[in-house]
């Protein structure tokens, strides 16, 4: 497992090379991760910079949710904290919301309310 503190400190102080080209509201927890964590709610139609690339948000995405750091293929393992947290059921482009609509557990299926399949965290 990675040293979370080191990556948080880099983000917090804005000292890492990464934060210069990535929106400060996105947190990379480990260098090998293919998703980033949203630290402050992102509005729909906002343009967010991800490792030098400008990406338009298509919907509002709440704090604690995940975005694709790079394009991720169907069946690919999703990595967060430097560890596998499930696999993709649909492909995701850079900046796409990665959640219950396009990824699944490799252990026990996740239960959500019927109206949650497309959930964006917008109410939070």
């Amino acid at each position: 497992m990675s040293d979370l503190n080191a990556s948080m400190k880099d983000q917090g102080n804005g000292k890492s090379a990464m934060s210069a080209i990535t929106d400060r509201r996105l947190i990379l927890l480990d260098e090998v991760d293919n998703v980033m964590v949203v630290a402050a709610t992102l509005r729909a139609d906002e343009v967010v910079r991800i490792e030098g690339e400008d990406v338009s948000m298509h919907r509002r995405i709440g704090v604690g949710h995940k975005l694709a750091r790079r394009s991720i293929a169907v069946g690919e393992t999703v990595l967060k904290y430097g560890a596998p947290i499930g696999s993709m059921t649909e492909a995701a482009a850079v900046g796409a919301h990665v959640h219950v609509h396009n990824m699944k557990s490799d252990y026990i299926p996740t239960y959500t309310h019927d109206n949650q399949a497309d959930f964006t965290g917008a109410s939070s």
Binding site: V38, G62, H99, V100, Y107, I108, G121
Partner: protein, 406 residues
């Protein structure tokens, strides 16, 4: 660490951070009477002192687990006196429970509603006892306590995508510091450590303990698979968590970086300082439903292991406290904190805003632990939260490999 404070000395040698009267229903049928007995003191929001608390076991069928839990809770160092409220015909073995509380040196009385003449008479008699016993234990002996005397548990509830990057790792920092100072710290919910078992096993003090740790997580995965539902609520998904293994990775951060020196089951008290994993998933075939039907079921088990207080990390915004021991609320999500600050002791979401780092928030948690131990009220205590629940579960005793340092 040079902190010390005055605790409550118990005749069995243990040291408490609270001096509570426990009013205990031995079946659901006695719960109203027990709560009515405690009512004049129970709720700080209504001007009560908060030091008379109701708890109990709801079932009428015998339960070795339920009995052990109540025995451990009523002889918990935070409890100064006990009133058992019995309907009169329930299945609970109250004589054995009285014996255990008496053996610990605590005053204990049984109030049987059917013998007392019904609800009104029982409530009056119960309140008279509480009035008398409170005055008696208020003058009980005090004793110096240091961090090495503490047992602290940790749980996360209402988790979201922030819990695993702010509140949980900050709680882990506090755990590391506490353990260096000689305290025993307990983390739990093996059903929320699925996917972390190999990493945890490598942190165990012995290879045999590592195998027990891994086995406990495999047991949890099997149990939840049979039930067809992971330890994962719809609200977790609202907060950005997608899978149980993702939630587990975040939950695991609460454990910090110390060596794991033991595996406990509910009611096992850590024999020495160090980090312990609490196995909360029942043994044997799946019986009695979900291992823990809500967060308070786990909090009660941590307290039954002797936890003087419990660190509760929340992202979505849980408000609960507990009977028997204070709960320190650590809010991981800055947006939740902005809405619910009155319920939160620690604002860990500042880490996301770049206003604090994990070490700083870890230190704040440590300070809050010592303030609470010295008698300072937590937010959930001030707001009258004393949630409590026990259900039916069944456990085999832990094996010899689980406590290698004993």
């Amino acid at each position: 660490m040079t902190q010390s404070w005055q605790g409550w000395a118990r005749q069995d040698g243990r040291k408490g951070v609270r001096n509570l009267v426990a009013v205990v229903y031995l079946v659901e049928c006695a719960r109203h009477v027990a709560e009515a007995v405690a009512a004049p003191w129970r709720d700080p929001l209504s001007g009560g002192s908060g030091d008379v608390q109701a708890m109990g076991f709801p079932g009428c069928y015998p339960s070795a687990y339920g009995h052990l839990m109540l025995e451990r809770l009523l002889t918990h160092p935070n409890v100064g006196a006990v009133l058992l409220v019995s309907l009169g015909c329930e299945g609970f073995d109250k004589r054995r429970l009285v014996g255990a509380v008496e053996a610990s040196g605590r005053p204990v009385e049984v109030l049987t509603i059917q013998d007392a003449g019904g609800t009104r008479a029982a409530v009056e008699a119960g309140r008279a006892y509480v009035e008398r016993i409170r005055a008696e234990i208020d003058n009980g002996p005090r004793v110096e306590m240091t961090p090495a005397d503490l047992i602290v548990g940790t749980i996360c509830g209402g988790s979201d995508g922030t819990s695993g990057i702010t509140g949980n790792p900050a709680a882990g920092r506090a755990f590391d510091r506490l353990i260096e100072a000689g305290a025993a710290c307990i983390f739990e919910e093996t059903g929320e450590l699925i996917g972390c078992e190999r990493h945890m096993a490598a942190r165990a003090a012995t290879p045999e303990l590592g195998r027990e740790v891994e086995g406990a997580v495999h047991k949890a995965a099997r149990y939840y698979e049979t039930l067809g539902h992971a330890s994962f609520a719809a609200g977790n998904a609202d907060g950005g968590l997608t899978t149980i293994e993702e939630k587990s990775m975040g939950a695991y951060a609460k454990s910090g970086r110390s060596e794991i020196v033991g595996l406990l089951k509910p009611g096992d008290i850590p024999p020495i300082g160090g980090l312990y994993l609490l196995d909360v998933v029942p043994d044997g075939e799946v019986r009695f439903g979900f291992p823990n039907i809500n967060d308070n079921a786990e909090i009660a088990e941590l307290i039954a292991c002797g936890a003087h207080m419990v660190l509760f990390v929340t992202g979505r915004g849980s408000v609960v406290g507990s009977a028997c021991a204070p709960v320190i609320k650590i809010c991981a999500n800055p947006e939740t904190y902005a809405r619910m600050a009155d319920d939160m002791d620690i604002d860990a979401g500042r880490i996301l805003k770049g206003e604090a780092d994990l070490d700083q928030v870890g230190q704040e948690i440590l300070d809050a632990i010592f303030e609470t131990a010295a008698g300072g009220q937590t937010r959930s205590e001030a707001l009258g939260h004393q949630e409590f629940i026990l259900t039916y579960k069944s456990f085999e005793p832990i094996g010899p490999a689980c406590l290698p340092t004993r």
